[in-house]
Amino acid sequence: MARQLIDQFAAKVPADKRAAVYLGTKTTHEKRTQMLLDQFADPDRLRQLAGEIKQHVLENLDTYLPQVEAKLTANGARVHWAATGEEACATVLQIMQARGATKMVKAKTMVSEEIGLAGYLEKHGIEALETDLGEFIVQIDHDHPSHLVRPIIHKNRREIAQSFEREGLGVYNDDPATITRRARQYLRHKYMAADVGLTGANFVSAESGRLLVVTNEGNSRFSLAAPRCHIALVGIEKLVPRDRDLGLFLNLLARSATAQSLTVYTEFISGPKLPTQPDGPEEMHVIFVDNHRTEVLASDCREILRCIRCGACLNVCPVYRQVSGHAYRSVYPGPLGAVLSPLLAGGHFADQADLPKASSLCGACQEVCPVNIPIPDLLLRLRDKAKREHATLAAAGTPPMGAWAILASQPVVWKAALAVGQIMDYLPLGLIPVPALRAWTARRTLPGWRGGEFRKWLKNRNKS
């Protein structure tokens, strides 16, 4: 029986990496829980409320999207719409070419990973440099991020030091402080030389058109302080109704993601810089990206679009902790990715239809989710979809059910099996030479055979 792809991958994860991912995720998860419980009277209500607000936005996007477009335009930003990932990439390229720009600094944005922006721009002769330390290391290694918030949770300092040496960023030194200093020194001149700073947005207020961008390192701020043009790539689901709601989401985001009260830099951007401000972008573009999101909106899994990419569900997930991010073969790992990736795959759903099976349905993901997404339910809906669409990948690892089907659908066979089952009481199970079975029976005894009891009970009940 072929194993699931994710199991095959998990079997190859080296023990030290598995331990690092396990420890990193577990620590963050525990701190996050402690912090929410210590600081708020009713943190669970907060999550539910945030979920209700996002659900409201999703179900009213037809109103909010034109509203935010009008606000942003009035604030002096240019709004673009991209139906597909390719169109979003092409739009970025056009904006750059119109300015004669060849250099971009990029803050971390998941949607740019999703559409493969950096690779696309490089093919067109544009330097598109990742500036988040983790993403920078991913980029020089031609690797992929393995966690939403901690992209290089799968790498150790020795590997990073080797990459730096190879890239000419100093002789081998695996001290994390030295690694960070070297990146600082290298990147600060890149910001100054770049024409365009690209960011995502964690939230966008429909009321004011404010984009909210958070980072700890300050790379997004630098990307908006040195370059003269700002491009923001924003998924159409990122809206919140009012500025006031931004406060609610800010209270939840950093605590859920990294167990901080607030990220170090929390930036509200509603347009190009003031004329009196010497630094920052004179030109601001906001690209709203669909790329299959409207299909998700039309599906019975639309709740997944509430996601604020905090990573809490990854940190708590017993499967993610064992297999780590690359096992999900997509930009979005963990329980979130198991739902979102197959949906965003559009016509290629079948290629990722196995991901929703990578879950024990324990429910921990929903319990920690700051927008209370019913992830276990969505996983079940996608399993059902995979079955209906005969996705073969999803079937791997499933025990053949043929024999069971005969047994369960033919009363005569069923009755015979029940009678034969009594033999179990007399078999010396401990002597069967299968190690797993032996280990199991060495400490446990099977209960006595009770096959047929229910039928007897039902019969008697009907008589009386």
Binding site: A41, L133, T276
Partner: protein, 205 residues
């Protein structure tokens, strides 16, 4: 591009059309997001100072302390907001080189930058900078040390109050402690792209 706009909005409308009813917008009480033990605080500077220290920032109440700190670390070359400099200059000895214009071509020359904050948030130890009040985005960002000046009457108790008072300004940034990362093996390192030292100086009136 406008084709895509119509296409996306049409798809959104089509996706939502089958919904019998749409989820309402819930109202919520600000008490829900009150942090335990924050709002009863009367001395907002004291609370701010405590929380700033908790994120490895440095609260100071006199210019003399600031000058001593800079001196003891050998940070003698910096940038200062031209509007602030007349009030600070007499505390700085001639050993310092302080420029009131920031030269983009020499960002590595500045060891510290002094700029005015628009406000602060006590419960999180956050300073608020904006395009209107902060002389230079780069002056507050590129040097190793950033000093933000703030007045008592500019301090908000909590995040909710600060959001409610967001100024009309294209760019507002909240800064909570020094720039930091834990990307390498989860080890905390400060001073990644932004300042490694974040100081707030309390100014009178």
């Amino acid at each position: 591009m406008s084709d895509s706009r119509e296409q996306i909005l049409n798809r959104v409308r089509a996706a939502l059309a089958p919904l019998l009813q749409r989820a309402p917008l819930p109202e919520w009480e600000r008490e829900l997001v009150d942090l335990r033990g924050t709002r009863n605080s009367t001395d907002l500077w004291a609370l701010f100072a405590e929380r700033l220290k908790a994120v490895n920032g440095t609260p100071l109440t006199t210019v003399a302390e600031l000058v001593a700190l800079l001196e003891s670390n050998g940070w003698r070359h910096g940038y200062c907001d031209p509007a602030l400099w007349p009030r600070l200059r007499e505390a700085f000895s001639t050993a310092f080189t302080v420029e009131t214009d920031f030269d983009r071509r020499r960002i590595d020359d500045y060891q510290f930058g002094i700029t005015a904050a628009t406000g602060a948030i006590a419960e999180t130890g956050t300073v608020i900078l904006s395009d209107r009040d902060t002389s230079r985005r780069l002056g507050a960002l590129a040097p190793w040390v950033h000093i933000a000046t703030v007045r008592r009457d500019q301090i908000f108790a909590d995040l909710t109050a600060a959001v409610a008072a967001l100024p009309v300004d294209p760019n507002v940034i909240w800064v909570t402690g020094p720039s930091k990362t834990a990307d390498v093996e989860g080890i905390l390192i400060e001073g990644v792209h932004g300042p490694g030292r974040q100081i707030t100086l309390l100014m009178a009136g």
